[in-house]
């Protein structure tokens, strides 16, 4: 099945690839998926005063998984934590024109954002 132009673009020029030091107080890390399922996403958020000031990701997975996480980092940057929590996987599906068999990639990206925020909150007492 051919990939959408959006998926190809994110695959070829992924935004925000990299890592933050996960022990830093202002960093929240979400790692979701499993190697045996063929997808693992690590998404990290740098949060300052309730606002996501930076985001980075690393993904093991298909092109759609890479594109979903790349897009997610792009979207959450500059958003408040509360706003980021409202991001839906369907937004990613729509933007990347993901076919039904790739919807799980968008779900993982949504889960990764939530897991990163959860981690941040847990490590910052709340």
């Amino acid at each position: 099945m051919p990939y959408s132009d959006e998926v190809i673009d994110h695959y070829n020029n992924p935004r925000n690839v990299g890592s933050f030091e996960k022990d830093e107080k202002d960093v929240g890390t979400g790692v979701v998926g499993a190697p045996e399922c063929g997808d693992v996403m690590k998404l990290q958020l740098k949060i300052d005063n309730g606002v996501i000031v930076d985001a980075k990701f690393k993904t093991f997975g298909c092109g759609s998984a890479i594109a979903s996480s790349s897009l997610a980092t792009e979207w959450v940057k500059g958003k408040s934590v509360d706003e980021a929590m409202t991001l839906k996987n369907t937004d990613i599906v729509e933007k990347l024109h993901l076919p039904p068999v790739k919807i799980h990639c968008s779900v993982l990206a949504e889960d990764a954002i939530k897991a990163a925020i959860e981690d941040y909150k847990k490590r910052n007492g709340g």
């Binding site: 190697p35 045996e36 093991f60």
Partner: protein
Amino acid sequence: MNMPIYMDNHSTTKVDPGVIEEMLPYFTVHYGNAASRNHTFGWDADKAVEAARERVTKIIGADSREIIFTSGATESNNLALKGVVEMYVEKGNHIITQVTEHRSVLDTAKRLEKSGINVTFLPVDSNGLVDPDDVRKAITDRTVLISIMLVNNEIGVIQPIEEIGKIAKERGILFHCDATQGIGKVPVDVQTMGIDLLSYTAHKLYGPKGIGALYVRRKNPRVRLSPIIDGGGHERGMRSGTLNVPGIVGFGKACEIAMKVMKEESARLLSLRERLRKGITDSLEEVYLNGHPARRMPGNLNLSFAYVEGESLLMGLKEIALSSGSACTSATLEPSYVLQALGVSPELAHSSVRFGLGRFNTEEEVDYVINRVTETVNRLREMSPLYEMAKAGVDLKQVRWRK
């Protein structure tokens, strides 16, 4: 160098120019129905079919009266299993096959299972090979058929067909071999290998798609089959349907060419394959070979690139046609059942790529592919959280993943 590069020759092959040339008149000049008995168009077509039949049987060491033309190996496999089981229902209700067979054997066997036939699916070892002793032990007095492939389509390993054929003979059980991937690549002889039924198809050996054959032994023993397609009684009643004359002619020519060039071509493909393997494994760490290192067909290389998902790797190699055992490339979202049967972990199965070298690949292409694979794997590892964790000394097997 021509782009894109085709290196997926286990999937299908380019039709050899000599094959096309020989087929063309059978579309426009000698376009008769081979079953037409009363005019020259029919006679010409029939003559061409019989000449092709000689060539198609010669490559497997059989007699021309011993094959049935089909639409391809999937149909041949269906006919072999269903046809034998139905015909020999009085004799028994048990068949033996193994877990890395092609889907057209496995799914046919599973359908038969639903209709009350007992099926033994033998395991393979970590190299992908069946133990002939397991075949021997699985035989019961109700066994009517053993079906084991010659060459596996994903990992290219060559099963011990001759030994299994011998066991089948000793016990008087029919032996079917799906030789789709092996014909024209490795020597095949139904006599020395003790094969009673054999499936093959033209498009894997530089012939056209849509034409295959099933060899059905005529003596010692004479194999009988129930047809699965009824109609005009073509192919001695075992496969009705107007013969695909141009396809059959092309199949014949493809077999003739293959017989002529096989020895030299195998040596050349083996050297290209080893160049590719060495080139990739010398420049990248943690690349694992899937399947037996030596007992495999010359053009096949199947590698797993740890920490990199197969489909994303192929996406980065868009000008090179390859295939992956990753779930994302299949409809089922399960990674390759063949690799899993070898005990390859699901994560490495997701990371596998099949390189299928063929007649038209060149050394220049191989070198290009080595560089592009290296570059793309390195790029994807840089964005792989698994690679990062492994480099930091994390044991990925101990991690509790959040699925």
